[in-house]
């Protein structure tokens, strides 16, 4: 049943761009880019129980690394994805260091501080990043072929998302994933069972940051221009919102969260100056009525039907 659902979802994802126009292709690209961030944040927050409100910093590292390598060094875009992931991953390791000592609100503040510092460094580093003027970024390319339209870029994104999904799903099922879960539930109990807290924490931070970095590389290339305004605290908070709305503890939730972040401005546009109010009301509604996010909707619906039948 699960395999059929996965195949159907994959089929829909492949078929969708044939039914929407160029603007729809752009939105689909953004949804996939966000979904990758949601997957990474879901891993960190939902599985390992480590909070981060600094993921915009990892996103920025990925975006600028790729853009600089493509424009200034001439590295092929595909290769820059790996380097972006690597650089962001190393930054993730650094951020993991305070995570070994602090938890909860204090960890949130530490990750926020990291993000602000990164953005400030990028802003001030005029010669490399364009500083306050920002920088233009070429379209994504593969084997020298430039993906000029969002339609073609979407399929490359979809392929990378599929790889990321496989990675995350397998990790969650593996012994490493179980260790992360155990640490979230009780780090003392986990350590008693032989889980190395330091290694596990550093690993999950690095992996989460690396995935976010790859997403950032795509973000710059699809957008066509980078400036530090794209990596503010609001963006980090938006990421958190996305995983909570989608569903913190499931991969499906991450995908739904990505769709929510990309499409909600479209649905709310008609409400004009009421947009932010309605967005806020929706978030409060989700927290109260769907604490496990959109991913829990089918389960809840099923439960309702069973109760009625009973």
């Amino acid at each position: 049943m699960r395999t059929i659902a996965c195949l159907a979802a994959g089929g829909v994802a492949i078929a969708l761009p044939f039914f929407v126009g160029p603007y729809g292709h752009y939105l689909l690209c953004m949804a996939v880019i966000y979904a990758m961030v949601a997957l990474s944040l879901g891993l960190l927050l939902g599985v390992a129980g480590q909070i981060s409100i600094g993921h915009a910093g990892f996103w920025a590292i990925g975006a600028y690394t790729s853009a600089i390598l493509v424009t200034k060094v001439g590295v092929p875009f595909i290769l820059t994805l790996l380097v972006s992931g690597l650089f962001a991953g190393v930054a993730g390791l650094l951020v993991a260091l305070p995570a070994l000592r602090v938890q909860g609100h204090y960890l949130a503040i530490a990750t926020l501080g990291f993000s602000l510092v990164i953005v400030h460094v990028l802003y001030e580093w005029d010669g490399l990043t364009g500083g306050r003027q920002g920088m233009f970024v070429p379209r994504p390319s593969i084997f020298g072929y430039e993906l000029m339209s969002d339609f073609s870029a979407y399929f490359l994104l979809l392929a990378i998302l599929a790889v990321t999904l496989l990675l995350v799903v397998n990790l969650r099922r593996s012994l490493g994933g179980l260790s992360l879960n155990a640490m979230r539930l009780s780090d003392i109990a986990a350590q008693v069972c032989g889980v190395n807290r330091a290694t596990t924490t550093m690993f999950v931070f690095a992996l989460s940051a690396a995935i976010t970095g790859v997403s950032g590389a795509f973000y710059g290339a699809v957008l066509g221009q980078l400036s530090t305004d794209s990596f503010t605290l609001v963006v980090s908070l938006g990421f958190l919102t996305m995983v909570i709305v989608g569903g913190l503890h499931s991969v499906v939730g991450a995908l739904l969260g990505g769709l929510f972040l990309a499409y909600s401005p479209e649905f709310l546009r008609a409400f004009e100056e009421w947009q932010m109010f309605i967005y806020g009301a929706l978030l409060v509604g989700f927290m109260h009525l769907l604490p496990d996010g959109l991913a829990s909707l089918p389960r809840r619906a099923l439960r309702l039907v069973r109760r009625r039948d009973a």
């Binding site: 160029p22 305004d229 546009r269 932010m276």
Partner: protein, 387 residues
């Protein structure tokens, strides 16, 4: 027989096709354009007035018969001063709604972010208001700026201080971003070339709520004049601090500092402030200003004529002027040709812009005005840019 009919039909369609192949957004009786503004952001107060300026002018044009028989319809999109949302809005307007041109954007990073997509689609961007080389000295043919370079602001203010106020030493209070630093750079350039001395510099960031330390430190440098590269809130705070300190230097700032928000915040502390004018002031007695005020009174009666609506209106006016000069069916290419044929053009709403095939430049000359009574909102024009 069937083959002949089919061939005739295909032939007719091929011949007729060019007659129907107009650019997007153009019908027999309308032309649809888009405008992308930060209507929900820190700039929303200015953006909504900017929108009202565009809207009122285009409605006024429509009321007077439109352009060559076509009414102009404008679609406004909000970008929340966010580059990503700006690109989304540009893609929506161009790829989904099919607008003919973008008339009016506000903000730097958001406008810069949308330029690659508009250039890729060949969509003219008329009237972007921001401070970036890609906007003010564009290399993309589609961009037709209405705002001066940030450095030109600095030069104009330093020049006025030196030539009209006899200042020998200057201090600069600036916002620590692209906008503020470009003005600072202009002041430094002018000072170096003309033997003036910049004796003090102090900056703030937009989130600051207190600028008393900056006022104190600059007062201690004892400059003849202080150039402010500021937005209304911080400019007003700085002037209030200067008033508290009894600091009697001459203060100069860009035109933003004479808008209603600044005057309401600063009150009498703004008295004597010199501002450079890069849009018309509502007290100017010219035909263009009278026409602009008439349009505002009729179609945006709740918005007072002034800097923001006039800046918005200027882009719309350039668009309409060029569109009127287009012969035959309007296309984006013909519109850009018509804009480039304007040469140095004075709309009367902003100082002259220069659009030619090899150069698209915003204004380079300025007028000047002085705040006479900040509490009453009284501002006196000292010099029109045409004088």
């Amino acid at each position: 027989m069937k083959t002949i009919r089919l061939s005739t039909l295909i032939g007719a369609l091929v011949i007729a096709a060019p007659a129907f192949a107009g650019d997007p957004g153009v019908t027999d009786d309308t032309i649809e354009v888009g405008s992308i503004l930060p209507l929900q952001s820190g700039l929303s107060a200015g953006a909504s007035q900017y929108r009202d300026g565009i809207d009122a002018y285009l409605k006024w044009v429509n009321k007077n018969g439109g352009v060559n028989g076509r009414k102009i319809i404008v679609h406004f999109e909000n970008d929340s001063y966010n580059p990503q949302q700006a690109v989304a809005a540009a893609k929506k307007l161009v790829d989904r709604d099919g607008v003919f041109a973008i008339v009016g954007t506000l903000g730097t990073t958001n406008t810069v972010a949308m330029i690659p997509h508009l250039a890729n689609r060949g969509v003219p961007l008329i009237g972007p208001l921001g401070s970036h080389p890609s906007i003010n000295t564009p290399t993309e043919r589609i961009v037709f700026p209405i705002s001066p370079l940030g450095t030109s602001h600095g030069i104009s203010l330093a020049k006025y201080a030196a030539e009209e106020l006899g200042a020998k030493t200057l201090a600069v209070f600036y916002q620590d971003d692209q906008y503020g630093k470009e003005i600072l750079q202009g002041v430094e350039e002018y000072a170096e070339e003309n033997g003036l001395e910049v004796v003090g510099e102090a900056s703030y960031v937009p989130s600051d709520v207190d600028v008393s330390a900056q006022a104190l430190s600059l007062r201690d440098t004892n400059p003849d004049a202080v150039v402010m590269a500021v937005i209304p809130k911080h400019g007003a705070l700085f002037m209030l601090e200067a008033q508290k300190l009894g600091w009697d230097a001459k203060f100069l700032a860009p035109q933003l500092m004479s808008d209603k928000v600044s005057l309401d915040l600063g009150g009498s502390a703004l008295n004597g402030l010199i501002i450079n004018l890069y849009s018309a002031h509502e007290t100017m007695d010219t035909e263009a200003v009278a026409e602009a005020k008439e349009a505002m009174a009729e179609f945006a009666p709740d918005t007072a004529p002034g800097y923001w609506p006039f800046m918005g209106m200027s882009g719309a006016k350039l668009f309409v002027t060029a569109l009127r000069n287009v012969e035959g069916e309007p296309t984006r290419e013909k519109l850009m040709d018509a804009l480039e044929a304007l040469g140095t053009y004075d709309s009367g709403i902003i100082p002259p812009v220069t659009y030619a095939p090899e150069k698209h430049a915003g204004p380079t000359v300025f007028g000047y005005a002085e705040v006479i009574d900040g509490e009453k909102g009284e501002v006196k024009v000292l010099k029109h840019w045409a004088d």
